[in-house]
Symmetry: C2
Subunit: 479 residues, 2 copies
Amino acid sequence: MVHLTTALDAASAVPLYEQLYKSLADEMRAGTLAAGTRMPGKRRLAAELSVSVNTVDAAYQLLAAEGYLESRERSGFYVQEYLALPQRTEPEMQAAAPVQPPEPKDTPVQFDLSTRGVDPGLFPFRTWARLQKELLYSSPELLTHGDAQGDIELRQALAEYLEEYRGVRCGADQIVVGAGLEYLLGLLAPLLPGTAAVENPGYPRARQVLANNGVSCCCLPVDEGGLSIEALYRSGAAVCYVTPSHQFPTGVTMPAGRRAELLRWASRQPGQRYIIEDDYDSEFRFDTRPLPSLQGMAGADGPVVYLSTCSRSLAPSIRIAYMVLPRHLLPAWQRTYRLYSSPVGRFEQQTLARFITEGYFTRHLARERVAYKARRDALAKALTGAFGPGELKLMGLHTGLHLLAKLADPPADAALRAAAAQAGMQFSLLSDFDLTGSRQEKCGTLVLGYGSLADDACPLVGETLKRVCTAAREASSGR
Amino acid sequence: MVHLTTALDAASAVPLYEQLYKSLADEMRAGTLAAGTRMPGKRRLAAELSVSVNTVDAAYQLLAAEGYLESRERSGFYVQEYLALPQRTEPEMQAAAPVQPPEPKDTPVQFDLSTRGVDPGLFPFRTWARLQKELLYSSPELLTHGDAQGDIELRQALAEYLEEYRGVRCGADQIVVGAGLEYLLGLLAPLLPGTAAVENPGYPRARQVLANNGVSCCCLPVDEGGLSIEALYRSGAAVCYVTPSHQFPTGVTMPAGRRAELLRWASRQPGQRYIIEDDYDSEFRFDTRPLPSLQGMAGADGPVVYLSTCSRSLAPSIRIAYMVLPRHLLPAWQRTYRLYSSPVGRFEQQTLARFITEGYFTRHLARERVAYKARRDALAKALTGAFGPGELKLMGLHTGLHLLAKLADPPADAALRAAAAQAGMQFSLLSDFDLTGSRQEKCGTLVLGYGSLADDACPLVGETLKRVCTAAREASSGR
């Protein structure tokens, strides 16, 4: 006779057969119901437990499907030896280390003006969920291994989108889909011919990825036209990592003339010099038409590797980035990464492919542009309203999801940081992006991201920032 | 007056406001409706087009949300300059390279016996889709940046699962979630102290990833107890990459004694020698209880990096793998990858976390074990039935999703491959996994994966394989 250690509860939301299954499985794992035991007949057990025969039958079937019971013809169900758990033969197992609780968070941030936030409210939840669900049910073949460069449907959709909206010239065969900048830049690194020049101030992550993958980096200055081409020639670098659409973090757009100079630098030594064009944020140009990509100026087999991501246009947690390789790099790529799999799940790839080809992506981007432009305007208005004339100069407004605010009479960075933390405000200073590490003590230029800012919080942000600056100035001057 | 280039179609499945939106947007992009134009009032346009005022209103609102129209108070809607397209100032743009069609597939494969297939029919579509949808609607915070090592909920779930089922000793802080072996092994490589020993025959991908990341590899022989420890000592390697649960591809399980020897090798030079334990396929042990992991024998701060993946237990296209680092490697890890983001989407991470913590994962694995064990039995029965006694020896049956079949009188490999291709059969030979590249001409051992094989196809696979061998032998002997 089977004694259930846990009584069945007809009032529970968990179906009775599930409760019975669980109770029996527990006993088999614990050994109370030993391997080889013949289970009571369904009718008998049903009567004993005052449940229906169907309940017992469903529980037995579940136990058989999971390997707890074996059904022998005309003889009934027998308890199997359950093999899931490892054999604990080792003499003295060390006690498991306690699971660490998550790190305690900093003091609560009321105003997040960091540069990597986006507005979750703009995410196309309904369309994304519908496409995702349709694919999961209709396309079981997407469970199998996909193409190492990414699913062809996504690469084709990206090639068409990039051609139309960014002037990129490429075939789907030149596109590599990857799980973020780190992954793609990490794979690209071994194929690069030498030292890389990076912009300074610049994007610390790109530099870290290059350095981690054995590419030594030199930092070149940025002026109001972007990276200095003169410095690039002097540096002797073979690779140039640039953000021409929206220099990170200064927000400068490289003008057409400088772009042509940059391409000339690369084309002087074909196959020996490359430009990595990180086109992040180019979707968010508010006041003038965007310039086409450098890659498009250079052509499908030019010296430019084009790189972009959906982190900003969709969400940071949707890990899909992509890279366009010059055609002549494809053989080396395929040789080196012949055995690799794509790091991006195929359901996500196909969801994005449909999102693009069915027209949702460009409409989503259009909506985002309108929303972010309005927010930029609100923030700029709040800042100029809160500070006196001449106290603050705004820069880098025309593109992307952050702007720069230069203080006329800046307090020390440390005082500014302390005052901001106390006011529950999070932002970066331009000096945080000095990749040479030579920090000025008084930087005076704030980098204010508004991606994740609420529209109606803008006036308060202006006032709070003014208070933060005043407090920092007082602390700074020792009052 | 607005002239629509496309007539509205009341009978279409596309709502009228969508049709009107599209038609007007097209004209604004084409310039037919120029920037600055004042749009007709809603009532007037509705009357002109014989549609309701609501239809016109919905279309105008959509156009405003996407930046085509600007609404001015008490004055109506005005056409904006639409800024999405890049300014095409470059003199001679090169024509876009044609999109390449996907590579033509090989002749159709009727029987896929490759080692990386799994059965899509076992994937828990309904549960996965439900969890995914719930998360998408209930947790918009998952759109933001997550932890670089992976979401804490998933790492905690994995730590508990691994402790219970694989005897792994770790805290969630030691786990790194990544998008596949390539990604994790690639990040691990720079932290390793020197040359890596790999098993031979072995897993070509792991070797390629290590080599691509600057780790030189030496190939050590495998016997019936797994990797030779004697050869490991002689090699001078500092790192040892092993598959002790189910040596790939031979299927050998490393016995407890050899495991202890391997750990002794590493512990002789603490911090200078590491074991990478790739525990792939350990979920699929059919006949005896699995041994606990090497990592568990060594403890949370031992010399073992534990590595596993959901490619086999869930699906190859769900790109979630994970790694357990020894505690003393964590500072170096965090220093090196401080600025990185996790490559796995957070919705997928959280879907898996719930799938594990709500008990679905272990039940799913139990079902898979039952199904794959039955398939292994069917394939083994079909093979021994089709071949005469002594003609074929089966090996590596007890774990994983492939088995080895050694032919007593093997034809040449090339003939075997040609005959298999002609019969629409795909499988590997043991010599394909010889990482030294020194291929024997007559290997005679087939590696037969049954993950993606249909149960009822097994008898036909046996017969076809027998015919393939006969045909290859005839071709081989020149008849």
